[in-house]
């Protein structure tokens, strides 16, 4: 199984998802490591329309990036970091291919 990125765009239809290759995983983890810790918790916004991105590791850990915050969850353990200018969120979205990006634009 591959690392997967998912744009949280739809409600009924499946969200656009795409795999991350090895270099993209490496880049993602470097970017995550550069973000400052914050004391905050995050729940994915429950509204219609674009809500952020979710990155999933094959072993089950997830990163949810939305509204300037990124939350890493593994089991019951959560780590939250500031992504104030949305760099990590934008970086993940830019790893999508052209067709997926067009699909995301339709849903936004």
């Amino acid at each position: 199984m591959a690392w997967m990125a998912r744009a949280l765009v739809y409600s009924g239809r499946p969200d656009p998802q795409w795999p991350l290759d090895e270099s993209q995983v490496h880049g993602f983890l470097e970017l995550w490591a550069s973000l400052p810790d914050i004391d905050d918790s995050l729940e994915a916004p429950s509204r219609l329309g674009y809500r952020g991105v979710l990155v999933t590791q094959p072993e089950g850990a997830t990163w949810l990036a939305t509204t300037g915050i990124v939350q890493h969850t593994i089991g019951a353990i959560r780590t939250t970091r500031s992504d104030a200018d949305g760099r990590l969120e934008r970086w993940v979205l830019e790893t999508a291919d052209e067709k997926t990006r067009r699909q995301m634009e339709d849903g936004k």
Binding site: S11, R13, D15, L48, S82
Partner: protein
């Protein structure tokens, strides 16, 4: 010392971000220091997600940190919020300074128009924080729809496979399939177009029943509502025991408020964002449907 300042103001566009260093950073931190005389009034409620200006996010981004401040913190309505700290700041008009013509905002693209917009938004935000008494919308308790499913968002919102693998259709039908269910798929009649008639027919193939055009609890089963963002997506709501509606936007958590944060007495009048077309009310008879 370098500070990165994000003006948390936009929803769709990226927020303006500027950096200051040297004496400008030092001056800003002096403005953000704790006041000499502690404030008598209690701090305003920490701002939660609203549209428009929501505060400044300030990060100390290099190794020369000022340890009197957290590494990252928010400033809003003259208050500082960070790890283990919530206090007023020495200069209660620091946000006006940051967004003013001589403040750090001058380094952001957007020029004087951004500065004017920011200042106007700060005034509006301060007014709302000080004068609007945030209401906690309690989920009404009186039972109207005796056959409706229990409103138990915590069961769906596990942050794991239940939440992420079940969508609006699963939730509205109160049917966990872990497949992000698509109308008609289980019956071999999946919708082909993202328009009301097609998605509705898919749901009928799954054994949902078309209901009269009224927001009324059925005698048996529970009421759901279908809306579409034409050619883009569909969405479902379900009516609860107390007569109010709840929904689950895709893999994100179940909620009982609309896109404006208001309770939903009727999905036809709720803020549905881009899901502009109201299609139908339908009835789900428990145990009769199969989704995939």
């Amino acid at each position: 010392m370098t500070l990165r300042i994000t003006i948390d103001i936009f929803s769709g566009r990226p927020n303006p971000v500027v950096t200051v260093d040297g004496h400008e950073a030092k001056d800003l931190l002096e403005r953000l220091a704790a006041p000499r005389k502690p404030a008598a009034a209690s701090p305003p409620r920490r701002p939660t997600g609203t549209l428009g200006y929501r505060g400044l996010i300030i990060e100390q981004v290099d190794s020369k940190r000022d340890r009197k401040f957290p590494r990252a913190f928010r400033v809003a309505a003259g208050h500082l919020y960070g790890v283990d700290v919530s206090r007023p700041v020495a200069d209660s008009s620091v946000e006006d300074f940051v967004c003013g013509s001589t403040g750090p905002i001058r380094f952001a693209p957007g020029g004087p128009r951004l500065s004017e917009y920011c200042l106007e938004e700060i005034r509006r935000f301060h007014h709302v924080i000080r004068h609007y008494h945030w209401r906690h919308h309690r989920h009404p308790h009186r039972i109207h729809c005796h056959c409706a499913p229990l409103y138990e968002p915590q069961w769906w919102n596990d942050g794991g496979p239940i939440q992420w693998s079940n969508n609006c259709y699963n939730y509205a039908s109160d049917y966990r399939s872990d497949t992000f269910a698509q109308p008609g798929l289980a019956a071999g009649a999946e919708y082909q177009q993202l328009q009301c008639p097609d998605v509705r027919n898919g749901a009928i193939a799954d054994q949902l029943i078309l209901a009269p055009k009224k927001n009324k609890c059925p005698k048996e089963g529970h009421l759901v509502a279908l809306v579409v963002a034409p050619n883009s997506d569909f969405h479902w709501y379900r009516k609860g025991r107390n007569g109010y509606w709840s929904h689950k936007p895709g893999g994100t958590p179940v909620t009982n408020v609309d896109n404006s944060g208001n309770p939903i007495p009727d999905p036809r009048t709720a803020d549905r964002g881009g899901y502009t077309d109201f299609c139908s009310f339908m009835i789900v008879m428990h145990g009769h449907i199969k989704l995939r």
